[in-house]
Symmetry: C2
Subunit: 661 residues, 2 copies
């Protein structure tokens, strides 16, 4: 029989993902707010501690949990270092706290309390009888003091005072403490896991000269351009040798013409595989140099992990056991019947040599980590086993907790969430296809208003080389601005595929599809980045706003507010201490001006709505005085797609002048 | 490293209470509908089985799960026997199912399929190569047949046909099957755990003669009265000897006058404790006889388990170690400071002899179980340790799975839910204090529309000897009818404390309180059960409706519907197969007539609203023709508090006559 005297129940702990099977995520410096239902039988009071430690530490730190309502308790701790933290809860029936509460009621009711006073004394004596440390010593002094006090009233005063309560809080009898039966985990990553601004670019298009294959050296020259727009991650599609067999030509044609460069995702040729560099881009030295130059410009280079092979990949010869072979002796290419992708061979993760394959893929990641790369965008992770990612990310992060993995999965929602639970730091989302007010509100409430927020960090992309949405195709330049503001303010992390984005490239290959006409995936482009209609400056302004306002650097506080127009989306974010409050109003219609009353509960955001406050549009620098919770706005997309208001508490009135009064 | 080739994920299983820590509840014959998120990486198809077994059986039974949307799968099984069942899920990547789907697409696209056909043949050959049983034998014949078939078209036909699919479904490769990592439990109880109608009565008031202490023999005479109202459980407050020390007098006065009987909850005297019978009620033979007679009348007797002692209880002398002693050598009485309950000594469950105490209390239950009692109403279970109940109920149900425990806990919601999770078959609720439409809707949606329904079976009491609600005090006779209909139709289990209820006794001891004036807890009452204003017949009619309509015998299907009056509550229940649909409309205002449009989605309940249907009020026998989803009703509480409509599908029209057409 279990110990029957452990009377306290701890349940309903949050955050806790799938019963503790997966960790929650935080970035260094963030808080973990832990809640639980804690209660016991009868009328006794309980005390409750949140315990936490760095995984490798042996000793727990403790913080007292405070009761909310309905047997819910809460406390929090801050995670300072990268790596893994553990937390759990312990609670016990607190006999002295119960005695103290009852005693106050007895005294108030004027009852005879001699016997109950003696009970309290006994509790204190017992607590002081054993153990060591400053508190026990102090408690022993208290015991003597109480014993020496003859006057009952004085005795009561000493026994009910705060000091006795505090000492008893530390020394009280915890023989029957209940410890929550799980240790839960927090994975702590660096700030960029939470707040990052990505720019995707094909290095081979760098020179901006038709038909000229760019090099890493060329890329150096474009770094100032990317940095000037305020990005901090520069992500390259695969930089490895590209296969020749079945190479795809312009606009995904089944065979490439002479001199066509092929898709960078068809990885591997005689020149090497996933650890090699495409010779036309340069060599390892060029790469190292670019990584360094980028860092100097405030940019971190992210590489693509696309675990698949072209027919010419060295693995095919060296490790035929890692592929699926067809009965006719040919290799199984990628398929989604009846479609065939003959330039790509998927790896066979059900091979008997799966352990060697897993190890090799880990080796690929380590190779680039050792070359200084700390961010990876993982191509189609949902077509590889979940266990591969759980293992691989865990292994890498053991030695390199600063490595960030972005999951490129546009697949079924539960698959995407699973990948996030398994360890991906960030994830692509359905943002590209959420355009209406209802869609955006629903989706972002799911992402940030449910426990999904504990393990899934959205990274919002209005476009990618694969995705030119209908909204962008049809909405003109304003649509690009609208989607940029949405991505950059709804998400602490977002990215664009440029220069196609800032140049508002929007011709689809076919009506109803999302592929670009003359997609950069299959050819070298020459972009006119100095085009005067470029959104470059606008993007720079938006990214500066993000950098200067901590409210926009996390998704934790995102809240939507009412507006009476279906075209006006209204939401806010704020910093932990409310010193920075950002209110965003976006006109979702790229074609027409819309006005709306918005209902903004300023009081909830620590603003005195009755005194009035200033809203300062960081995009246009315009300032408005608002009063109360309902205010009217109008947004003309031909002028600006949105207001990004910084709220300022202080509105000057005549009372601010000396001669008032 | 774990097996990396187990590619299927099983998560989000329901029902699953607190990560599988507690069982779900069903009554014999009910279904357990199990759902889970099941998916794998990539595009392969998965197959999925729900496994279940009686706990003591070694072999699982399996039923194929069917995909819903968004990677959600579902299957169900029916629990036939009392006791415990286990269930879990297994799933695997189904290579043949995937091949078959792809093959169909290839054939439809007119592709060359020779190699893929060979891949399918290999899969079938592999499956047929090992194992035994009828299916493997049949599959071997298929292999031969396929090999003998020369024509490719014919070969495809055989390989894609249903029989091959079925055989491969049974024989397919499950080397890398994922088994859900928990076995979940269902506790199966008898039907009365789900559907029961309780009548609480003080046996000592049976004779109906002022000042005369009733006996079990007297009780026999009242059985037909209780049975005629349609009850099936007759619950007695404690029947044990009542303490003399500090005995409470009339209206809870601190000391009883001469001849006053005391409260039955002050258990124990020189004449015995929890296993003894109060001598004035009779002896064991009388008790046995009453239990038998009651059963003959269709009534099961339920006893009260109140684990507390009067100062005269034999335990006090025999087991002083089971109580808390005060420093002055006196026993600790029950308290809620500054209130004192000096006629009651709580047991000290933190005693070093807690194991002996637990065992003794189990002995008390077993004693009455062996006397034929199978239903216990547990008094204040929330003031005893949770672990006591979990252990005690588990122990009793091992040998007597037909024993039902009702938890009398009016305490904080999480404590009530925890008691239910630990094993109580039924629970008291906050129903007594939920009177408005909003309150009732909110509360019952929580009880029946969330996972609470999986472990918490509400038993609704409009009154108890402790609870005379303000609504009943002020609403007149109609209020009693309203609350009765609500309890009897919202809840598959409900009870009343009679005869006070049917006689509409409603004088409180003090304004603002809920105690009865001259409460039966402290005195013998003489009830005029033949009073013509008694609700006896009305109650009999309502209980007959409950017996005759399976829809009302479960809470599973409870759904609220819109009505435009805040005083008209509208809800429905239906049988599993929709053959019995009950629509209840209650006027919550006991004083005034109210009319309302009600929006009843008949189509959802398998009725053709466009054809029209009949609603038959089982209370008044009136019938109305309804059409569409919106219909108007009016309820005058002076006539009847409610409509309890049985829905009849068939409305006769001219088409039903021979000469039509």
């Amino acid at each position: 029989m279990k110990e029957g005297r452990k009377r306290v129940v701890i349940e309903g702990v949050s955050p806790e993902i799938d019963g503790g099977l997966f960790p929650v995520k935080r970035s260094a410096g963030e808080k973990v707010v832990v809640e639980a239902d804690v209660f016991t039988d009868g009328h006794d009071l309980v005390s409750c501690l949140l315990l936490f430690r760095k995984e490798e530490d042996l000793k727990w730190e403790a913080v007292a949990m405070e009761p909310l309502v309905n047997d819910r308790w809460r406390a929090s701790f801050r995670v300072g270092q990268l790596g893994r933290y553990r937390y759990t809860i312990e609670a016990w029936v607190d006999r002295f706290k119960t005695w103290r509460q009852d005693m106050k009621k007895r005294v108030d009711a004027g009852q005879a309390v001699a016997v109950d006073l003696r009970i309290g004394e006994q509790l204190i004596e017992e607590a002081a009888a054993s153990g060591e440390g400053a508190e026990v010593e102090a408690l022993r002094k208290r015991v003597a003091q109480i014993a020496d006090t003859v006057d009952q009233k004085e005795k009561i005063t000493i026994m009910l005072d705060e000091e006795t309560a505090e000492l008893m809080g530390v020394c009280s009898d915890r023989r029957f403490v209940t410890i929550y039966d799980k240790e839960l985990t927090v994975v702590v990553e660096r700030e960029k896991a939470r707040f990052s601004t990505w720019y995707e670019m094909f290095p081979r298009s760098c020179p901006g000269k038709p038909g000229v294959h760019g090099t890493f050296r060329d890329c150096e020259r474009i770094l100032p351009y990317v940095a000037s727009m305020g990005f901090d991650v520069l992500y390259f599609p695969p930089i490895h040798p590209i296969g020749v067999s079945h190479r795809k030509g312009r606009n995904n044609s089944p065979s490439a013409g002479k001199g066509e460069p092929g898709s960078p995702w068809a990885i591997g040729s005689e020149e090497g595989g996933h650890k090699a560099i495409h010779p036309e881009l340069g060599n390892y030295d060029d790469f190292d140099r670019l990584v360094r130059k980028a860092r100097e410009a405030g940019l971190e280079i992210a590489l693509d992990l696309a675990f698949q092979c072209s027919p010419d990949h060295p693995y095919v010869k060296e490790h035929p056991e890692w592929f699926r072979w067809r009965p006719d002796g040919t290799l199984q290419y990628a398929e989604n019947p009846p479609k065939k992708y003959e330039d790509i061979y998927p790896l066979n993760f059900e091979t008997d040599q799966w352990k060697e394959l897993f190890a090799e893929l880990k080796g690929v990641v380590l190779f680039w980590v050792e070359k200084g790369i700390r961010i990876f965008r993982v191509d189609n992770p949902h077509t590889k086993p979940f266990l591969l990612w759980q293992w691989l990310i865990g292994e890498i992060k053991k030695d390199y907790p600063d490595v960030i993995f972005l999951s490129e999965a546009f697949t079924r929602p539960k698959v995407m969430y699973r990948l996030a639970k398994l360890g991906f730091s960030q994830s692509y989302t359905y943002f590209a296809w959420r355009n209406t007010k209802w869609e955006i509100t629903q989706y972002f409430q799911e992402l940030t208003g449910t426990q999904v927020k504990e393990f899934f960090r959205p990274n919002l992309w209005p476009n990618t080389p694969d995705i030119l949405t209908e909204y962008l195709q049809t909405g003109g330049r304003q649509a690009f601005m609208t989607r940029l503001v949405l991505a950059a303010t709804l998400g602490a992390s977002y990215g664009i595929y440029g220069p196609a984005f800032e140049l508002c490239v929007r011709e689809p290959r076919e009506f109803g599809g999302e592929e670009y006409q003359d997609s950069e995936k299959y050819e070298i482009k020459s972009w006119s980045i100095d085009d005067p209609s470029s959104l470059r400056d606008f993007i720079g302004r938006v990214n500066r706003i993000r950098r200067e306002n901590t409210a926009l650097q996390s998704d934790e506080t995102l809240r939507f507010h009412e507006s009476d127009s279906d075209q006006i989306l209204c939401f806010s974010k704020h910093s932990e201490d409310f010193s920075n409050v950002i209110l965003v109003l976006v006109n979702l219609d790229p074609h027409h001006s819309h006005g709306s009353w918005v209902n903004f509960p300023a009081e909830d955001l620590a603003l005195n709505a009755r005194r009035g406050f200033q809203v300062h549009d960081l995009l246009s620098d315009a300032r408005f005085l608002w009063h109360g919770t309902k205010n009217y706005i109008e947004i003309d997309p031909r002028v600006s797609p949105a207001f990004v208001f910084k709220l300022r508490r202080r509105v000057r009135t005549e009372r601010d002048f000396d001669y008032f009064m």
